[in-house]
Subunit: 657 residues, 2 copies
């Protein structure tokens, strides 16, 4: 069995936009340090501080805008920080247990089985789409806060950002951590500066209250119920989205990987808590409110630095940048997770193919399309998207930590020094298993409770959609899985040699008109050397007469059968003819040869009927019917360059194919 | 040469929506009487009274809303009526000269040549699209005038109406004049009743002025210039659209056709003038104004009949109905004219094919798409569309009447009793040719002047688009024509017998994986009986190894060549391989055989890569390369029904194709 080598070639528009193809062997990455790892993986988690406080204030404002009520944002933020600490401690264990990457899908598949894995995956895929929509909408809101004249164009701006981000990701982003580090550390620098300046002003009593801000007005003031407080709490829990990112990307770290990843996770959570509490505290002190036209970050930066200050614009720029980085994270995570599902046969196989630039192109396009749809439906308003967001994340947290509980139970059954091999990772005896399991139990319980609180308190404002969507997705994933299994089963040769002995063959040439392309078909049929028949579908009696006459004059051999088609159908009469032929000659192949005028450009091709495609679809359902396309090329050269045609004098009816 | 007959078959969704196929022989129509002819052909012309007055008032309001200025609408309406009379007299001559149908395209082609014919056709096609957009937008405006709660949904309603109208027309409307007669005569009845009631109130001095109407506000009051008056005049000239309809449809009339058609034209114009003058006069008396939320017809009917009156609703219903009928007229005219162009090779040939229901399906779909686009862009506002409208109609009027002038010049050269044959119609000596030519000259000049006035006064508000579009369309038409001529030339066999002697052949089987579908391909290649080679594109080395092993075990014959593809491309490596093969073996056919897994449903098919299509496109540009698809059918039956597969035990990797 030979191997054939060749060069690559040709320029194309796609190549210009997307870049030249990359060799599969280029698929590798350098190990990254902790500070770079923080920059790469933290953007999703840290960026949620841009909207979490605002969403708490928005819900509290439903019970009236008094300072006392809005002040509840501080205990709520503290509660969320405690939850964040619990989840962080729990996830550290996962990082040590799964040094090759412990995303929720993998942990659930390894410990809980197929259905929980698909649930975790469906939840995460949904949330990645929402991350793009929410982050880009929030990023655009920061920009329109600084430039209110842009407010009417926010949907257009958000879609343009998604488009550019999609193009960049289709080209493939080299995992160059340093480029990622700039916006992350710029954001951290400017944000801590703002919070520090605010704190100094607060402690020295010089912090002013925010001026000229238009709060969202509520027509009806609701009573301050526990339900409302829980609703505000669950809105704030969006701050936790993205903290799972490091557990997916452990392999990117320098050795010892798990240790470095775990330390980065702790740093990230500490920074996140500091930022979140700082923003919430100062927002309350300046009297910030949820507004349609200005974000809380903008109110904060404007009040601390002053309206005209360059630091104000820098704070908003840093926030917008980290939000774009967060959206970009999903462009890596979504296609990778979709490819994992597809590789297991739960999503279309196309999602596993790396495009010419080594990225999962179909996954990127699917993400871009769905996120754009969300942005349009939600009119690029973060508030409209928040009730859909974070349920998925908390569901996947719950699945992942429950998986860890099951894993520790298995470890608990081992004897000292013993180990067993799971699907993904080795389980070793660990005398501290009870203590570690307890952490995972607490983590799983807390995230489960938050998920239920979220689903209940946000149900009517949008969460119902996710509550319905995720089971439907899981159902769809299993339908797809069933389909692939069935096809594999039907195609299986069962290890036996199939019967491929030569069979009789009926060859039919489909003739629409008699011209050079027809001659090419006849030439091919004669070159095969089997007996053949020509078929003409008679739609127009006048044309049929002409075709029969030309056939006799120009081809003058073989039989031309006319099948009348009074309903002007093309595929249906030939289909019936073939079925009759097969009934008369059981066990034969029917070989249908048809012509195709191949133009050089798409627009020229569109001027022709291109019936070959229709015939291919119509006949592909027939057993043992094989369709051959004989193209005849029409080249884009001027007639003068065709001396062999120069003698043409007779005006013929222009043939159509 | 045999003829083969067969039955029709199968149920499909398309058939349910569109209806069962019709025999070509059903293409015929009954001759219609004058009253029915009026109903069929007058809707387009009469319906323009629904907006023409309003558009005049809208322009005059730019110079301030005083009664004196708005009163100019009356002399403007009289001027338009005089123009209408001139065009009517001129068109009567065309009807007598072209008893088989004298649309502008035919008259221009017959007398002026190809370029003017294409200009006239491009102008008319553009205007048919605008007729649909304007009439449906205006019809929806009548409905929202009565039910203002629907105003925010006008774009959606307009699109829904276009969708339903498209479906109805794809089914094919039987030319049953009686059905058309009901809305036309209902409109005429209720409209004359309204005008009569209004006249009685006006003459008895009891006509009130309109109450509670919100005029469109203009920020700047312009001076009342001649330019503004001409602009108002040209807006009102939209009343003339549609009067050419009868000259297209002469063959539908009872004999003597030309006489009956000409009389119907005179009736139609008289009714149109009466309605237009009546509406304009009364609108001025009640103080009607152009409004975003209520049409002038609604203001008129409401003032005359009273708010709560059933007659008010009936007037609006009648107006909405006649507008829908007018739009429907374009659904017959546009596809028919497009088919004429396509038949002459100036538009894609597909437009000449009558679908299974005997209608020009592609033309209907193109019209629906373009009209929907206009409705969306114009936000379903008639006022936004008016500057684009009617230039086309007046251009085609000018072309048609200029054609008649040329025709009379030719007749003038004949001797008494002599006659010559034009392309479409016979020209006979006529001693009154000078007088008749003078009428056509006046008609052509008037419509030409109005067209120029229209283009100049409306240029900045939208007419520029049409002024640019029509030359571009004509250019495009000639490009298409050139393409068809060139293809016909390149395909011409020049009357000679082509060389179709058998040639050597290289057969390649494309192998992605080894399964039952692969066995089918090998079976087909062996049945052809020519030597063959199998080709595998090696994207993934691991898979390549597996395929080579399975090939040895399951097929065990023939050569399997592996072409490595480090850039994961599929079509490009095989394309290069074929080019090399052809260079080594000049004059051979290369026969590429590829497999295709044929699923029963679209959704199942979408789960597979369907690479056959990509290969077909990539290889169709290569000379003497023939591509064969060998489908393998995956049927939607449960596994239990496949006892022949029941023994499968070995788990195979699911193949993907």
């Amino acid at each position: 069995m030979a191997t054939y080598t060749q060069e690559k070639s040709r320029f194309s528009l796609a190549r210009f936009l997307i870049g030249k193809p990359l060799d599969t062997q280029d698929l590798q990455h350098q190990a990254i340090s902790k500070p770079v790892g923080l920059a790469v993986f933290a953007s999703d988690a840290l960026s949620s501080t841009a909207y979490a406080t605002e969403e708490i204030l928005l819900i509290l404002a439903l019970a009236g805008g008094s300072a006392a009520i809005l002040g509840l944002s501080i205990p709520i933020a503290i509660a969320i920080s405690i939850l964040l600490t619990i989840v962080t401690i729990s996830y550290r264990q996962t990082i040590y247990a799964y040094p090759n990457g412990g995303g929720a899908y993998i942990v659930a598949r390894d410990n809980l089985g197929e259905v929980p894995a698909q649930i975790a995956g469906a939840a995460l895929l949904t949330d990645y789409i929402l991350t793009v929509a929410v982050s880009i909408s929030s990023g655009v809101a920061q920009i329109t806060s600084a430039f209110p004249a842009l407010l009417p164009y926010r949907v257009g701006i958000a879609l343009a950002v998604i488009f550019v981000m999609t193009m960049v990701n289709l080209r493939g982003v080299k995992e160059s951590g340093r480029v990622f580090a700039i916006p992350t550390y710029f954001f951290l620098g400017i944000m801590f500066l703002t919070l520090a300046a605010g704190m100094v002003q607060f402690l020295s009593g010089t912090l002013p209250t925010v001026a000229d801000v238009q709060a969202i007005e509520h027509n009806v003031v609701e009573p301050l119920t526990l339900f409302l407080i829980l609703r505000a709490f669950s809105s704030g829990c969006t701050a936790l989205t993205g903290i799972e990112a490091i557990s997916n990307g452990i392999t990117a770290f320098k050795k010892p990987r798990s240790r470095n990843a775990a330390m980065t996770l702790v740093w990230m959570s500490s920074i996140l808590i500091t930022l979140f509490l700082g923003i919430t505290l100062l927002a309350h002190q300046i009297g910030a409110v949820a507004s349609e036209s200005e974000t809380v970050i903008s109110q904060l930066a404007r009040t601390i630095h002053g309206n005209e200050s360059i630091l104000y614009l820098m704070t908003l720029a840093g926030t917008a940048l980290i939000l774009l980085m967060a959206a970009n994270t999903s462009y890596a995570d979504f296609p990778r997770l979709a490819a994992l599902h597809a590789g297991d046969g739960f999503l279309p196989r196309q999602l596993t193919y790396r495009g010419s630039r080594l990225v999962f192109s179909w996954g990127i396009l699917a993400l871009a399309f769905l996120a754009s749809l969300l942005v349009v439906v939600a009119n690029a308003r973060v508030t409209a998207l928040i009730p859909l967001y974070a349920i998925g994340v908390f569901l996947s947290f719950t699945m992942s930590q429950t998986g860890m509980v099951v894993r520790f139970l298995k470890i608990g059954k081992l004897k000292p020094g013993e180990s067993i091999q799971g699907l993904e990772t080795m389980m070793e005896y660990d005398k501290g298993w009870r203590y570690k399991m307890a952490i995972s139990v607490v983590g799983a319980l807390c995230t489960f409770v938050v998920m239920v609180v979220f689903a209940v308190t946000k149900f009517t404002s949008g969460a119902w959609f996710i509550v319905i969507l995720i089971p439907l997705l899981v159902f769809g994933f299993f339908r797809i899985h069933h389909h692939y299994k069935r096809v594999a089963h039907l195609l299986s040769l069962s290890g036996a040699r199939p019967d491929v002995r030569a069979r009789p063959m009926q060859t039919l040439i489909l003739v629409d008109d008699v011209h050079a392309g027809t001659a090419r078909m006849v030439n091919f049929a004669k070159s095969i050397g089997k007996p053949w028949k020509a078929i003409h579908i008679g739609v127009n009696p006048e044309k049929t007469r002409l075709v029969m006459e030309k056939w006799k004059q120009r081809i003058g051999e073989g039989e031309l059968v006319v099948i009348p088609s009074p309903y002007r159908q093309l595929a249906e009469p030939i289909r019936k003819y073939i079925l009759d032929l097969q009934a008369e000659n059981p066990g034969t192949f029917v070989h249908v040869i048809m012509g195709h005028l191949a133009m050089e450009t798409f627009w020229e091709q569109a001027l022709h009927q291109n019936s070959a495609f229709i015939f291919n679809v119509a006949l592909s359902g027939l057993d043992n019917v094989v369709v051959t396309n004989v193209p005849y090329q029409i080249h884009n050269v001027e007639m003068a360059e065709h001396p062999e045609h120069a003698e043409t004098k007779e005006a013929e009816t222009p043939p159509v194919s």
